[in-house]
């Protein structure tokens, strides 16, 4: 296992070599860095390590002009690399995985381990609730033939836990991943995060130099055969809609690592990208995400309600307990492995064209017989990879009864209000609004029939609950909605469905957006789709 220090050193060396190569650019880069860091510190004056950061930035600013910019540039880049670097300790991993799922759960969510330990018996049974499916068989072999990069959908802070638990259960090797700085805040948690292969990502940093070091760090990790985990959506999907745009910078590291491996003549140069979907019937922090999304999308058009506190990560234990009591399943589905150009890869690590013919992907990078680096070309390849991952996300998005009921209920409300935008629709859908149950049920059944056809066209997948009796699936959704959120999203009273939290109704229906169900128009505002 390569040390984080070594990887950070190499990442910094590359960024510096590239920056210094551009004649006279050092001054400009340092000045730009100071500008971005000052802006960040003004935006967030009391953040983690902000005092030390401020002292460093002002020190750089004072020296700029007095001494050569090359040295300052080196100081900045090396500091960033050091901040990012993670370590992996097999002993720590062994310890953590022995107490899974609660171990990682506690670590990743900042809950005190002692709280978690009291609940071991209940949480053990979590393993029965995680359904693992899809193209899992070739993964162990591919992990030996090259470097795996898992790229899951992202809706909840529980995703990294769920995923870590999933690969542990499958017997796959651990993965390195970039985790938000907040997870490093506590000393104990930070210690574990570092030793479990996580490297830190500070999303508040806008300095292009920081981004360059981060990208290079991820690239070097992959080159050295460290399996990786990226959430290519960049952040949790606030709307709950399946991601349709991914962060190409991070995705592009897969191609960069493959290309660098070919040039260096490494024995196992291949990088395999594995799309993964995580599907939950309910989302732990659904309410706060939905509110945040509507606020951002609607600005003054959306008036938020009081927070009910369900976004607090400390509630995760009770969240799981309730899911367990309900016998609900969380699904993790693996798509077919892809090469960095979006071609499918077989169990032997060979890339295949759409008709299954073997191809040598190195050819995509050749010009006049040599492997070349061409950023615009490589970005275009990464766009193709993005498209293929997004297709896999939709194909393997396992539709849940809750989503379908939310879709049908909101559609019932929308009909008769043609032309209203989503904000107006939600303003007219206050808590306690009554929707007639039978028309909603009819829409639910109709949309379910459509979903079945769409599954045949590989545009969505169905959970087992949606394959059985329609009426049972409908009741299941009602029961599920009563489980977690403060007010049931929908509950039955006589022949009516009573709306609990409208933003949640909207949130859950969005997971089925883009399929054209019930000929309903898109309810995602265009600028934030």
């Amino acid at each position: 296992m390569i040390s984080g220090k070594e990887i950070a050193h190499e990442a910094a060396r590359r960024v510096l070599a590239r920056s210094k190569g551009a004649q006279g650019r050092s001054f400009e880069l340092v000045a730009e860095s100071v500008f971005h860091e000052r802006e960040r510190l003004m935006r967030n004056p009391h953040g983690r390590a902000s005092e030390a950061d401020r002292a460093f930035v002002e020190g750089i600013a004072r020296q700029l002009g007095a001494i050569g910019a090359d040295g300052l540039l080196e100081d900045i880049v090396r500091r960033y690399a050091h901040e990012i670097e993670g370590r992996f300790d097999p002993k720590v991993y062994g310890f953590a995985t022995r107490v899974l799922p609660l171990g990682l759960t506690a670590l990743l969510n900042g809950t005190r381990a002692r709280d978690a330990l009291f609940r071991v018996p209940e949480l053990r049974s979590l393993s029965d609730r995680v359904s693992i499916s899809g193209e899992t068989a070739p993964l162990a072999r591919l992990a030996r033939l090259g470097t795996l990069v898992f790229t899951p959908t992202h809706v909840s802070n529980l995703d990294s836990l769920l995923f870590g638990y999933t690969i542990f259960r499958m017997g796959l090797p651990p993965v390195a991943y970039g985790a938000g700085l907040n997870l490093f805040e506590s000393r104990t948690l930070g210690y574990f995060m570092h030793h479990l292969g996580a490297y830190s990502v500070d999303r508040s940093k806008t300095d292009p130099l920081y981004r360059a070091v981060l990208k290079e760090y991820a690239t070097v990790l992959l080159e050295r055969g460290e399996h990786g985990l990226f959430f290519p959506g960049g952040t949790r999907s606030r709307s709950f809609a399946v991601e349709s745009k991914l962060k190409k910078g991070l995705l592009g590291t897969t191609l960069a690592a493959y290309r660098n491996n070919l040039v260096a003549g490494r024995a196992k140069p291949k990088v395999f990208v594995v799309p993964v979907t995580c599907s939950y019937p309910l989302v732990l922090e659904g309410y706060s995400l939905a509110e945040e999304y509507l606020l951002r999308a609607g600005r003054e058009k959306y008036i938020p309600h009081d927070d009910d506190g369900s976004d607090n990560a400390r509630f995760w234990l009770s969240f799981f307990e309730k899911l367990l009591a309900l016998d609900a399943e969380v699904h993790v589905r693996f798509g077919a492995a892809l090469d960095p150009f979006g071609n499918r890869v077989d169990a032997d690590g060979t890339s295949r064209d759409p008709r299954g013919r073997p191809i040598d992907p190195a050819g995509y990078l050749e010009q006049r017989g040599r492997i070349t680096e061409d950023p615009t070309r490589d970005q275009a390849y990464t766009e193709i990879l993005e498209r293929e991952i997004v297709r896999a996300y939709h194909r393997d998005n396992i539709a849940m009864p809750t989503w379908l009921l939310a879709f049908a209920a909101l559609e019932q409300h929308r009909r008769g209000r043609e032309g209203h935008d989503v904000f107006r629709l939600l303003r007219e859908l206050v808590r306690g609004t009554r929707l007639p149950i039978e028309p909603v049920r009819a829409l639910f059944n109709e949309a379910l029939d459509e979903l079945k056809l769409l599954e045949g066209a590989e545009r969505v997948a169905l959970s087992d609950e949606l394959r059985g009796d329609k009426s049972a699936a409908f009741d299941r959704a009602i029961a599920c909605f009563a489980t977690w959120h403060k007010d049931p999203v929908l509950r039955v009273k006589d022949s009516w469905l009573i709306v609990g939290e409208p933003s949640l109704l909207y949130y859950y229906r969005n997971r089925l957006e883009g399929l054209g169900l019930l000929s309903a128009p898109s309810l995602l505002p265009a600028e934030v789709q």
């Binding site: 064209d353 008709r355 190195a362 050819g363 061409d374 070309r377 275009a380 766009e383």
Partner: protein, 338 residues
């Protein structure tokens, strides 16, 4: 070899446009292999420098070699240019997939959409081959004029800038300007959908309804294809460029345009079957009109001109009745962004 590429260029499809493109690439100094499945045709090219069935007037550059073996045509080529009618495109693309290498650049110069699937030709290439470095060549290009050496321009588009550059290098000459673009969806949809408007223009021309009416029909047609293409992901500005308005102008006016000729024949009372048979070549607009109608419905775009062409071609409506119905429609906004 004096062209920018050391390796040969392969052109698949020895119709009039494929032959002219092969000739242009050869004139810029490249060794060119012109593939046709018809061995007699390639034999004629190699022995007489003529392709009498497609474009008899052109004396084909000696650097063009006719080739009836697809593998031999594609092997080692730096660029493969596919110029096959839209409805036969997938079949050839699938065979191409057997012999194509990831290193190779693939351009296509086919203006049409696949029936039923509504796929653009670049999508068909990506579904049938390992090609990633794909580009499109499209514009106001009457093959016969270019063969005569008359000046013209075209557009090469790709998401890969080096593919655009390669297309420019291979086809640019003193009489042929090649412009670059990056809107693949827009250029492909322009090339396909304008053929349907060209049929409408041909019908108007055959009915002698005057230049004002012609302008009315063609610009309304352009507004419709702009709305439809934009809904499908094209950048609206592309429609105003060479591959959009430029191609529409030539195809709606020129007697060389096959689609225009089909429209004219229909206006004079000929049946579709007879008009197409007399043409002896594929008029892409006839089949594209079906795809265009289905797409307009799918995307919820009102397209009365495209719809009228469909009704005339495939529902047996008389051109005069379709025109009357068009004129009775409510006149809404001129263009969506006005």
């Amino acid at each position: 070899m004096s062209g920018p590429f050391d390796a040969p260029i392969a052109v698949l499809g020895a119709g009039n446009w494929g032959t002219v493109l092969a000739h242009l690439a050869a004139q810029s100094g490249h060794e060119v292999r012109l593939w046709s499945r018809d061995a007699a045709q390639t034999h004629e090219i190699n022995t007489t420098r003529r392709n009498s069935r497609a474009i008899a007037s052109l004396e084909i550059d000696p650097r063009v070699r006719g080739e009836s073996d697809l593998g031999a045509a594609v092997d080692g080529a730096a660029m493969v240019v596919v110029v096959i009618p839209a409805q036969a495109f997938r079949e050839v693309a699938r065979k191409l997939g057997d012999v194509l290498d990831p290193r190779q650049i693939v351009l296509h110069a086919t203006k049409g959409l696949e029936l039923r699937s509504h796929r653009r030709m670049s999508e068909v290439l990506e579904e049938e081959t390992c090609a990633r470095q794909v580009g499109v060549l499209s514009g106001p290009n009457i093959a016969a004029e270019i063969a005569e050496g008359l000046p013209a321009g075209t557009v090469v588009t790709s998401r890969f800038p080096h593919v655009v550059k390669a297309g420019k290098q291979v086809f640019t000459s003193g009489r042929f300007m090649v412009f670059g673009a990056s809107d693949v969806v827009g250029v492909e949809l322009c090339g396909a959908l304008k053929n349907v408007v060209a049929i409408a223009a041909g019908i108007a021309s055959g009915m002698h309804i005057g230049e004002n009416a012609m302008a009315l029909l063609v610009t309304r047609g352009l507004a419709e294809i702009t709305a439809l293409a934009s809904a499908m992901g094209a950048r609206p500005g592309t429609l105003a460029g060479l591959a959009g308005a430029g191609d529409l102008m030539v195809t709606c006016r020129s007697q060389h345009s096959r689609n225009h000729r089909v429209g004219e024949a229909l206006a004079k009372g000929e049946t579709l079957e007879r008009a197409v048979a007399r043409l002896g070549m594929v008029a892409e607009g006839v089949t594209t009109s079906i795809a265009a109608r289905e797409l307009a419905i799918e995307h919820g775009i009102e397209c009365p001109v495209l719809d009228s062409v469909h009704r005339i071609l495939h529902e047996g409506v008389a051109p005069t009745d379709a025109l009357e119905a068009l004129l009775r429609m409510r006149a809404g906004r001129d263009v969506a962004w006005a």
